[in-house]
Symmetry: C2
Subunit: 595 residues, 2 copies
Amino acid sequence: MPHYNPPIRDIKFVLHELLGVGEQYALMEKYKDFSEETFGLIVEEAAKFAQEVVQPLNQVGDAKGCARSSTGEVTTPDGFRQAYQLYVQGGWPSLACDSAYGGQDLPKLANSVLYEMLNAANQAWTMYPGLSHGAYECIHAHGTEEQKNIYLPKLVSGHWTGTMCLTESHCGTDLGLLKTRAEDVGGGQFSLYGTKIFISSGEHDLAENIVHLVLARLPGAPKGTKGISLFIVPKFTLDQAGKLGERNKLSCGSLEHKMGIHANATCVMNFDGAIGTLLGEPNKGLQAMFVMMNAARLGVGMQSLGLTDVAYQNSAKYAKERHQMRSLKGSQKSDSPADPIIVHPDVRRMLLTQRAYAEGGRAFSYYVALLIDTEQCHPDEDTRGDAAELVTLLTPIIKAFLTDNAFMSCNEGLQVFGGHGYITEWGMEQFVRDSRINMIYEGTNTVQALDLLGRKVLRDMGKSLKKFGRQIQEFIEEEGVRKEMSEFIDPLADLASKVEKLTQEIGMKAMMNADEVGAAATPYLRILGHLIYAYLFAKMGKIALKELKSGDDFYKAKLATARFYFARLLPETSTLIKLARAGSSNLMALDAELF
Amino acid sequence: MPHYNPPIRDIKFVLHELLGVGEQYALMEKYKDFSEETFGLIVEEAAKFAQEVVQPLNQVGDAKGCARSSTGEVTTPDGFRQAYQLYVQGGWPSLACDSAYGGQDLPKLANSVLYEMLNAANQAWTMYPGLSHGAYECIHAHGTEEQKNIYLPKLVSGHWTGTMCLTESHCGTDLGLLKTRAEDVGGGQFSLYGTKIFISSGEHDLAENIVHLVLARLPGAPKGTKGISLFIVPKFTLDQAGKLGERNKLSCGSLEHKMGIHANATCVMNFDGAIGTLLGEPNKGLQAMFVMMNAARLGVGMQSLGLTDVAYQNSAKYAKERHQMRSLKGSQKSDSPADPIIVHPDVRRMLLTQRAYAEGGRAFSYYVALLIDTEQCHPDEDTRGDAAELVTLLTPIIKAFLTDNAFMSCNEGLQVFGGHGYITEWGMEQFVRDSRINMIYEGTNTVQALDLLGRKVLRDMGKSLKKFGRQIQEFIEEEGVRKEMSEFIDPLADLASKVEKLTQEIGMKAMMNADEVGAAATPYLRILGHLIYAYLFAKMGKIALKELKSGDDFYKAKLATARFYFARLLPETSTLIKLARAGSSNLMALDAELF
């Protein structure tokens, strides 16, 4: 059975040594009293909850899955409900929520740290509370006072959970095609009709109500994405005071059988005249939903970070314990009939790949979470604006780069176990199966890549990217003079300059032929991911080099991981740059019918 | 539900246009009457059997899996037994077997073609007959006349199946640690005691007897791999005439729960004094078993080739049928509310990756199967020797390169389906799960890489590799003068020259530090894989260029796939060469306890 040890010191390293969050939050009125000590306490309590309450349910949840009764009620696996009650009692849902609605007014970053650990412990369970936070943010941003007063306190306390109802069987990526319709029934109420699929946590027994945010069309609405409105549709109807009434006319039609996240209820949801209210402006539902979607994309990044780390921990443990063959250099443990497999360079390559992607992913996603706090709470308007711009730029990279890396890492972890990795009992194959969905939902990784290159980079002529590039350039200039940093700075500077040229080149080609964007987007996103990781690993390497003299092995390991990253993961960019430049003709030459 | 259309024309293209098998077999006495027409009939009949009998059982087999009774009897999923009976009745097990034992004396290559299609249709089912052929080869090579007369006719007819019993819970890669013991009980018989795990098809209801080839130690045998003997241990004991007697003292202790290949019974096998006979010399069991192991490694390649192709077929179909969003260049199908997703460059990248790996894998594995026939039946001794050398060199590449590529390809196929790819019903996630084991069993891909670089390349100072290199060089020199071939020949020549230098460099480093072999092996194997694919795609490109004027779209598609391979898959070597040269220090720096 797999284990999980929350990486508390690694988390604190990123928070305090890499990002210097204390200094940052001291500038923000809202968080100025949020000390390193408070943060530490939260990390430790969250770690305990993830490790002791949530993790033990992961494997049994996968084995058992959810069950749906003939009337559409959904039962989650044994223990899920009790764990959720403890979660609510512990006040965890309210961490980063507005105190006006019962929240604790803590930074978003605190929530990211919590979610890394919850997801490492149990992604399927964490998806139940995970979507509530997105619903909270969407209603907080777009709701009327009445909607906020009814829904937010319950979402903040965790007594109710939330969902996103977007996909229909004929449309996922292309929401402009959606058919679910809403009829105005007067009194500010609407009646919804239609069927949604792939609704995570769509129906379950954890909370007393479920708040569905549903995309639908009003009568006479324009075709396509400009005619989509957003509705709040609760599982149980509410009176004006927010008291629970009768069951709304919506139900779970069936549960999907799927590759992984078995313990999360992926529902077909039927809306048969379900009553709801409009959230935000008519026909502007997709924009409103993007608040939730962006939160969800960052959330998917945290899912993948968690899985990367837990898979690493388990394969590292196995590699130290499993004795098999001798080192290529001759016996290392002559008192044993074989050496532990961690003596083998190729086993270490697999382990270090996982480790580097865990450390890089943590640095990157915490960095972006801090940017979100900066965007919302920094006293300086320009700083807020710059942060907002960067969050927009980096969100698709978080989503796609972390999820691709997690799937690779979980697979390396499985491979370290050899045949045992394929056997359910050891838990490694579940990590692979669970991590696979993250590359798909909340916008496939192709959609992320097109969003990045098309919308976030080329549309503003690379303006945001250049701004981020300047930040990297400053670091290069500062550190480039120090000889001991050249192992990190030289490849970073090299890649930064290549990215600049590459972006221009693709921009020029895209003006002649829009397919050039599609042909370059996926490798381009990974190149930017590596640029960011190279920047962050150079920074972490700098800290490690400085602290090495303390004799603390922690820094020795940080340095070795950074060096591994530069030696063995960053070189992927050699190929990626070729692919990003390879053009569309080799993809488009073949007639569709010849496939 | 997924479909499978056996790619008959693609198969014949490789057999006749690429490999010119007719000309080859005309030289071999044993196969000289084996005409293109006969081969064609076999391909078509095998295709029908795979598509109509075996494929329909794939998804139901996955859902149901095998069941074990309290007494250790194993039931395969509904329909498996009937399909196996039809397989036996059709004479398929005997295809490439010796006519002295009832076989059809057909080339090994015919068997490879059959197995590509059976595996594409249903890998789990195909594993039942699949291992029998290895057992047949091992007994054929090492058995006494009596053993051959008893076992071979039954394995050839398919009335009995075979297994390989190697792994124990504490040893998979490191068979030198195995503990199962054999006691001489007189009369040429031995009694076996021990527990084997991960025994594919270890117990089932398809055949009247199961022939276990079991590795065990004789009393007083030397420690390690030099003290391992091989035994034939049947499920039902046999009298001297080969008549079935009583149940032998061996049983299936449990079935493993695993990620995929659910319909194949992966058994824990308990030997509690089971009676068997020695196969080959005492203490030379591992060498004898390698006959079966090498056959199995090539067999795993065919499993992965099959899955690559069937996943491709299904995702290509979906991409043509699924309408979602518009082309980046604007609407392509204005009569429909959206364009088919095959208009998108990145979807085509995924499809063409699968397609190129299917075509490359087919060309490569058929080429090696033809080499095996050449090794065994060519009239010229030197030619036989060269072929044997090449088969030895290429076997680990077939195993690791095809299985890694298949897993990537099945994942690309799943991704093309978006959220639907994650749902069991569509069948794509089963291909991913099934294909994952191929990277592990019959020697993990790390073991293959070490075998290739350490044993097959460096041990003989690159002699076999140079011989293969000369063959490529001749092709380069012949075709290099033709301008229209330069798009293929230039990158092929470039890679061939890099491989030569790289091999020398690693050889030098390995003399100083054995860990350099382990640090370079995995990327090195993929580089050789690409060298071979570049060679074969250049040859296929040449044929396609020549036949293009016929106006047959088949060649247009072949050319487009070859061009895609050179533009988008071969560039992986830029990174791989860096990794193969990156050295061991970045892997070995971190103390094991700091992982």
